[in-house]
Amino acid sequence: MPHVTDSELIKHVAGELPQPQRARVDEHVAACRPCRDRQREISQTWEVLGDWQVEPLATDLADAVQGTASRQHQAATNRPARWQRRASVLLRAAAAILVAVALGHLAGRWTAPSPSDTASAGADRLARSTDADVVPLGVLELGSATGWADLILDDAVPSEQEGSS
Protein backbone atom coordinates (compact mmCIF):
# COMPACT_ATOMS: atom_id res chain seq x y z
CA MET A 1 0.00 0.00 0.00
CA PRO A 2 1.71 3.24 -1.11
CA HIS A 3 1.92 5.79 1.65
CA VAL A 4 0.68 9.34 1.36
CA THR A 5 3.43 11.86 0.65
CA ASP A 6 4.12 14.81 2.94
CA SER A 7 3.12 17.13 0.13
CA GLU A 8 -0.26 15.45 -0.19
CA LEU A 9 -0.77 15.63 3.56
CA ILE A 10 0.07 19.34 3.53
CA LYS A 11 -2.46 19.90 0.76
CA HIS A 12 -4.99 17.80 2.65
CA VAL A 13 -4.55 19.83 5.85
CA ALA A 14 -4.78 23.08 3.86
CA GLY A 15 -7.97 21.91 2.17
CA GLU A 16 -6.51 21.99 -1.32
CA LEU A 17 -7.13 18.43 -2.37
CA PRO A 18 -10.04 17.81 -4.72
CA GLN A 19 -12.63 15.42 -3.36
CA PRO A 20 -11.55 12.14 -5.02
CA GLN A 21 -7.98 12.61 -3.80
CA ARG A 22 -9.15 13.75 -0.39
CA ALA A 23 -11.23 10.63 0.02
CA ARG A 24 -8.30 8.43 -0.98
CA VAL A 25 -6.04 10.11 1.60
CA ASP A 26 -8.69 9.80 4.31
CA GLU A 27 -9.10 6.14 3.57
CA HIS A 28 -5.37 5.47 3.66
CA VAL A 29 -4.72 7.52 6.79
CA ALA A 30 -7.46 5.66 8.63
CA ALA A 31 -5.67 2.40 7.94
CA CYS A 32 -2.03 3.48 8.19
CA ARG A 33 -0.59 4.48 11.58
CA PRO A 34 2.62 6.14 10.33
CA CYS A 35 0.73 8.29 7.82
CA ARG A 36 -1.85 9.13 10.48
CA ASP A 37 0.93 10.30 12.82
CA ARG A 38 2.49 12.43 10.09
CA GLN A 39 -0.87 13.96 9.28
CA ARG A 40 -1.39 14.81 12.93
CA GLU A 41 2.02 16.53 13.14
CA ILE A 42 1.37 18.56 10.03
CA SER A 43 -2.08 19.47 11.29
CA GLN A 44 -0.67 20.59 14.66
CA THR A 45 1.99 22.67 12.95
CA TRP A 46 -0.70 24.26 10.82
CA GLU A 47 -2.73 25.14 13.91
CA VAL A 48 0.19 26.54 15.89
CA LEU A 49 1.17 28.79 13.00
CA GLY A 50 -2.27 30.34 13.34
CA ASP A 51 -1.24 31.75 16.74
CA TRP A 52 0.65 34.50 14.96
CA GLN A 53 -1.84 37.19 14.13
CA VAL A 54 -0.84 40.50 12.58
CA GLU A 55 -2.56 43.78 13.24
CA PRO A 56 -4.68 44.85 10.31
CA LEU A 57 -3.78 47.88 8.26
CA ALA A 58 -4.72 50.93 10.29
CA THR A 59 -4.80 53.54 7.55
CA ASP A 60 -6.41 53.77 4.14
CA LEU A 61 -3.61 53.99 1.60
CA ALA A 62 -5.85 54.81 -1.35
CA ASP A 63 -5.64 58.59 -0.95
CA ALA A 64 -1.86 58.56 -0.53
CA VAL A 65 -1.38 56.28 -3.52
CA GLN A 66 -3.73 58.32 -5.71
CA GLY A 67 -2.01 61.55 -4.71
CA THR A 68 1.47 60.27 -5.48
CA ALA A 69 0.36 58.67 -8.74
CA SER A 70 -1.33 61.91 -9.80
CA ARG A 71 1.85 63.89 -9.16
CA GLN A 72 3.89 61.35 -11.14
CA HIS A 73 1.38 61.50 -13.97
CA GLN A 74 1.52 65.30 -14.01
CA ALA A 75 5.31 65.30 -14.03
CA ALA A 76 5.35 62.80 -16.90
CA THR A 77 2.85 64.92 -18.86
CA ASN A 78 4.91 68.11 -18.44
CA ARG A 79 8.17 66.45 -19.37
CA PRO A 80 9.30 67.02 -23.00
CA ALA A 81 8.89 64.16 -25.43
CA ARG A 82 11.77 61.74 -25.76
CA TRP A 83 12.82 63.07 -29.18
CA GLN A 84 12.86 66.60 -27.80
CA ARG A 85 15.08 65.53 -24.92
CA ARG A 86 17.48 63.78 -27.28
CA ALA A 87 17.59 66.77 -29.64
CA SER A 88 18.37 69.01 -26.68
CA VAL A 89 21.23 66.75 -25.62
CA LEU A 90 22.67 66.68 -29.16
CA LEU A 91 22.44 70.47 -29.48
CA ARG A 92 24.22 70.94 -26.18
CA ALA A 93 26.92 68.50 -27.23
CA ALA A 94 27.38 70.29 -30.58
CA ALA A 95 27.60 73.66 -28.85
CA ALA A 96 30.20 72.32 -26.45
CA ILE A 97 32.28 70.99 -29.37
CA LEU A 98 32.10 74.33 -31.18
CA VAL A 99 33.20 76.20 -28.09
CA ALA A 100 36.09 73.78 -27.61
CA VAL A 101 37.21 74.17 -31.23
CA ALA A 102 37.02 77.96 -31.00
CA LEU A 103 39.02 78.02 -27.79
CA GLY A 104 41.58 75.67 -29.30
CA HIS A 105 41.92 77.89 -32.36
CA LEU A 106 42.43 80.98 -30.26
CA ALA A 107 44.96 79.23 -28.08
CA GLY A 108 46.86 78.11 -31.16
CA ARG A 109 47.04 81.63 -32.53
CA TRP A 110 48.46 82.96 -29.31
CA THR A 111 51.16 80.36 -28.87
CA ALA A 112 52.30 79.54 -32.48
CA PRO A 113 55.67 81.21 -33.64
CA SER A 114 55.51 83.92 -36.49
CA PRO A 115 56.93 83.18 -40.04
CA SER A 116 59.66 85.95 -39.72
CA ASP A 117 60.87 84.45 -36.53
CA THR A 118 61.11 81.10 -38.30
CA ALA A 119 63.21 82.54 -41.24
CA SER A 120 65.74 84.44 -39.07
CA ALA A 121 66.11 81.43 -36.82
CA GLY A 122 66.82 79.29 -39.91
CA ALA A 123 69.45 81.70 -41.31
CA ASP A 124 71.22 81.76 -37.98
CA ARG A 125 71.40 78.01 -37.95
CA LEU A 126 72.74 77.96 -41.47
CA ALA A 127 75.47 80.49 -40.66
CA ARG A 128 76.60 78.43 -37.73
CA SER A 129 76.41 75.12 -39.54
CA THR A 130 79.72 73.40 -40.37
CA ASP A 131 78.18 70.24 -41.68
CA ALA A 132 78.74 70.14 -45.45
CA ASP A 133 75.80 67.83 -45.89
CA VAL A 134 73.41 70.33 -44.41
CA VAL A 135 73.08 72.63 -47.42
CA PRO A 136 69.71 74.10 -48.01
CA LEU A 137 68.61 74.28 -51.60
CA GLY A 138 68.60 78.05 -51.47
CA VAL A 139 72.40 78.21 -52.05
CA LEU A 140 72.04 76.45 -55.38
CA GLU A 141 69.71 79.00 -56.83
CA LEU A 142 70.52 81.44 -59.62
CA GLY A 143 72.95 84.12 -58.50
CA SER A 144 74.12 82.17 -55.49
CA ALA A 145 77.78 81.89 -54.38
CA THR A 146 78.30 78.44 -55.87
CA GLY A 147 76.88 79.48 -59.20
CA TRP A 148 76.75 76.00 -60.70
CA ALA A 149 73.08 76.19 -60.84
CA ASP A 150 73.20 79.16 -63.28
CA LEU A 151 70.90 78.69 -66.16
CA ILE A 152 72.49 77.70 -69.47
CA LEU A 153 70.73 79.79 -71.98
CA ASP A 154 70.18 78.36 -75.46
CA ASP A 155 71.89 81.28 -77.25
CA ALA A 156 75.08 80.82 -75.22
CA VAL A 157 75.82 77.52 -76.89
CA PRO A 158 77.58 78.01 -80.24
CA SER A 159 75.90 76.12 -82.96
CA GLU A 160 77.75 73.59 -84.98
CA GLN A 161 77.23 75.62 -88.06
CA GLU A 162 79.03 78.63 -86.60
CA GLY A 163 81.93 76.52 -85.35
CA SER A 164 82.53 74.92 -88.74
CA SER A 165 82.70 78.01 -90.77
Binding site: T45, V48, L49
Partner: protein, 185 residues
Protein backbone atom coordinates in the same frame (compact mmCIF):
# COMPACT_ATOMS: atom_id res chain seq x y z
CA UNK B 1 -17.28 34.66 -3.29
CA UNK B 2 -17.45 34.97 -7.07
CA UNK B 3 -13.77 34.82 -7.91
CA UNK B 4 -14.24 35.10 -11.66
CA UNK B 5 -16.34 38.27 -11.33
CA UNK B 6 -13.74 39.81 -9.02
CA UNK B 7 -10.98 38.89 -11.45
CA UNK B 8 -12.77 40.48 -14.38
CA UNK B 9 -13.47 43.56 -12.28
CA UNK B 10 -9.79 43.80 -11.42
CA UNK B 11 -8.91 43.48 -15.11
CA UNK B 12 -11.38 46.25 -15.95
CA UNK B 13 -9.95 48.46 -13.26
CA UNK B 14 -6.42 47.79 -14.51
CA UNK B 15 -7.43 48.82 -18.02
CA UNK B 16 -8.73 52.07 -16.56
CA UNK B 17 -5.54 52.57 -14.54
CA UNK B 18 -3.55 52.12 -17.75
CA UNK B 19 -5.47 55.16 -19.01
CA UNK B 20 -4.38 57.04 -15.88
CA UNK B 21 -7.79 56.76 -14.21
CA UNK B 22 -6.93 57.63 -10.62
CA UNK B 23 -10.34 56.66 -9.29
CA UNK B 24 -9.83 53.14 -10.65
CA UNK B 25 -6.44 53.01 -8.97
CA UNK B 26 -8.01 54.06 -5.69
CA UNK B 27 -10.62 51.33 -6.01
CA UNK B 28 -7.92 48.70 -6.62
CA UNK B 29 -6.05 49.91 -3.56
CA UNK B 30 -9.12 49.70 -1.33
CA UNK B 31 -9.89 46.20 -2.57
CA UNK B 32 -6.46 44.71 -2.02
CA UNK B 33 -4.53 46.85 0.46
CA UNK B 34 -5.39 44.75 3.52
CA UNK B 35 -4.13 41.49 2.08
CA UNK B 36 -1.11 43.11 0.49
CA UNK B 37 -0.27 44.67 3.85
CA UNK B 38 -0.77 41.35 5.67
CA UNK B 39 1.61 39.66 3.25
CA UNK B 40 4.25 42.36 3.64
CA UNK B 41 3.82 42.38 7.41
CA UNK B 42 4.49 38.67 7.70
CA UNK B 43 7.48 38.79 5.40
CA UNK B 44 9.05 41.81 7.09
CA UNK B 45 7.64 41.47 10.66
CA UNK B 46 7.58 45.28 10.80
CA UNK B 47 4.26 47.04 10.24
CA UNK B 48 5.86 50.39 9.44
CA UNK B 49 8.02 48.89 6.71
CA UNK B 50 5.10 46.78 5.54
CA UNK B 51 2.96 49.89 5.07
CA UNK B 52 5.68 51.55 2.99
CA UNK B 53 6.05 48.43 0.86
CA UNK B 54 2.31 48.17 0.35
CA UNK B 55 2.07 51.76 -0.83
CA UNK B 56 5.08 51.31 -3.10
CA UNK B 57 3.57 48.12 -4.52
CA UNK B 58 0.47 49.96 -5.68
CA UNK B 59 2.59 52.69 -7.21
CA UNK B 60 4.39 49.92 -9.11
CA UNK B 61 0.98 48.72 -10.23
CA UNK B 62 0.17 52.19 -11.54
CA UNK B 63 3.49 52.63 -13.36
CA UNK B 64 3.32 49.16 -14.94
CA UNK B 65 -0.41 49.16 -15.71
CA UNK B 66 0.14 49.36 -19.45
CA UNK B 67 2.22 46.14 -19.34
CA UNK B 68 -0.37 44.18 -17.33
CA UNK B 69 -1.92 41.26 -19.18
CA UNK B 70 -5.25 39.98 -17.87
CA UNK B 71 -4.21 36.36 -18.48
CA UNK B 72 -2.59 36.54 -15.04
CA UNK B 73 -4.80 37.29 -12.06
CA UNK B 74 -4.27 40.72 -10.61
CA UNK B 75 -3.66 39.33 -7.12
CA UNK B 76 -0.94 37.03 -8.43
CA UNK B 77 0.77 40.00 -10.02
CA UNK B 78 0.30 42.21 -6.96
CA UNK B 79 1.64 39.59 -4.56
CA UNK B 80 4.69 39.08 -6.75
CA UNK B 81 5.39 42.80 -6.58
CA UNK B 82 4.97 42.79 -2.78
CA UNK B 83 7.22 39.73 -2.36
CA UNK B 84 9.96 41.29 -4.50
CA UNK B 85 9.78 44.60 -2.64
CA UNK B 86 9.97 42.77 0.68
CA UNK B 87 13.01 40.81 -0.48
CA UNK B 88 14.68 44.10 -1.42
CA UNK B 89 13.97 45.51 2.03
CA UNK B 90 15.27 42.35 3.68
CA UNK B 91 18.50 42.53 1.72
CA UNK B 92 19.02 46.16 2.63
CA UNK B 93 18.29 45.72 6.33
CA UNK B 94 19.98 42.48 7.35
CA UNK B 95 19.78 42.01 11.08
CA UNK B 96 21.69 39.85 13.56
CA UNK B 97 20.36 36.31 14.07
CA UNK B 98 17.88 36.11 16.92
CA UNK B 99 17.17 39.83 16.87
CA UNK B 100 13.55 40.60 16.13
CA UNK B 101 12.18 44.10 15.77
CA UNK B 102 9.21 45.13 17.86
CA UNK B 103 5.92 44.18 16.31
CA UNK B 104 3.72 47.21 15.90
CA UNK B 105 3.64 50.39 17.93
CA UNK B 106 4.32 50.27 21.63
CA UNK B 107 1.16 48.52 22.70
CA UNK B 108 0.09 48.03 26.25
CA UNK B 109 1.51 44.88 27.77
CA UNK B 110 -0.99 42.05 28.25
CA UNK B 111 -2.45 42.21 31.69
CA UNK B 112 -3.36 38.60 32.41
CA UNK B 113 -1.68 35.23 32.14
CA UNK B 114 -3.64 33.99 29.14
CA UNK B 115 -2.85 37.05 27.12
CA UNK B 116 0.79 36.87 28.18
CA UNK B 117 0.92 33.29 27.05
CA UNK B 118 -0.80 34.11 23.77
CA UNK B 119 1.63 36.94 23.17
CA UNK B 120 4.55 34.64 23.90
CA UNK B 121 3.26 31.97 21.52
CA UNK B 122 2.75 34.57 18.80
CA UNK B 123 6.27 35.84 19.32
CA UNK B 124 7.69 32.30 19.14
CA UNK B 125 5.84 31.54 15.93
CA UNK B 126 6.82 34.87 14.40
CA UNK B 127 10.47 34.24 15.21
CA UNK B 128 10.35 30.68 13.88
CA UNK B 129 8.87 31.82 10.57
CA UNK B 130 11.28 34.72 10.30
CA UNK B 131 14.26 32.44 10.93
CA UNK B 132 13.37 30.21 7.98
CA UNK B 133 15.55 30.46 4.89
CA UNK B 134 14.20 33.04 2.44
CA UNK B 135 12.45 30.74 -0.01
CA UNK B 136 10.90 28.61 2.74
CA UNK B 137 9.67 31.68 4.57
CA UNK B 138 8.09 33.08 1.41
CA UNK B 139 6.45 29.74 0.61
CA UNK B 140 5.04 29.28 4.12
CA UNK B 141 3.70 32.83 4.33
CA UNK B 142 2.00 32.53 0.95
CA UNK B 143 0.62 29.08 1.77
CA UNK B 144 -0.36 29.27 5.43
CA UNK B 145 -1.27 32.92 5.80
CA UNK B 146 -2.30 34.04 2.32
CA UNK B 147 -3.97 30.66 1.65
CA UNK B 148 -2.56 30.32 -1.83
CA UNK B 149 -2.44 26.91 -3.47
CA UNK B 150 0.82 25.35 -4.59
CA UNK B 151 0.05 26.40 -8.16
CA UNK B 152 -0.72 29.97 -7.12
CA UNK B 153 2.52 30.15 -5.16
CA UNK B 154 4.38 28.90 -8.23
CA UNK B 155 2.81 31.70 -10.29
CA UNK B 156 3.68 34.37 -7.73
CA UNK B 157 7.26 33.27 -7.23
CA UNK B 158 8.09 31.93 -10.68
CA UNK B 159 9.19 28.59 -9.17
CA UNK B 160 8.00 25.24 -10.46
CA UNK B 161 5.15 23.53 -8.61
CA UNK B 162 7.48 20.74 -7.54
CA UNK B 163 9.92 23.32 -6.14
CA UNK B 164 7.09 24.87 -4.15
CA UNK B 165 6.07 21.48 -2.78
CA UNK B 166 9.62 20.65 -1.81
CA UNK B 167 10.03 24.04 -0.15
CA UNK B 168 6.85 23.64 1.87
CA UNK B 169 7.67 20.13 3.02
CA UNK B 170 11.05 21.29 4.34
CA UNK B 171 9.62 24.45 5.85
CA UNK B 172 6.81 22.73 7.73
CA UNK B 173 9.23 20.06 8.96
CA UNK B 174 11.56 22.71 10.27
CA UNK B 175 8.74 24.62 11.93
CA UNK B 176 7.49 21.42 13.50
CA UNK B 177 10.87 20.91 15.12
CA UNK B 178 11.16 24.52 16.22
CA UNK B 179 7.67 24.74 17.71
CA UNK B 180 7.29 21.20 19.01
CA UNK B 181 6.91 22.32 22.60
CA UNK B 182 4.05 24.65 21.68
CA UNK B 183 2.25 21.78 19.96
CA UNK B 184 2.69 19.54 22.98
CA UNK B 185 1.18 22.24 25.19
Amino acid sequence: MDVSADASDDADLMRAVADSDMAALGELVRRHEKRAFALACRLLTRPDAAEDVTQEAFLHVYRAARRYRPEARFTTWLYRIVVNLCLDVKRRTKRAPGELPAHGPAAEAPTDCDRLEAADRAQRVRRAVDDLPGRQRTAVVLHRYMQLSHRDIAEVTGWSVSAVESCLVRAYARLRQELRDLMEN
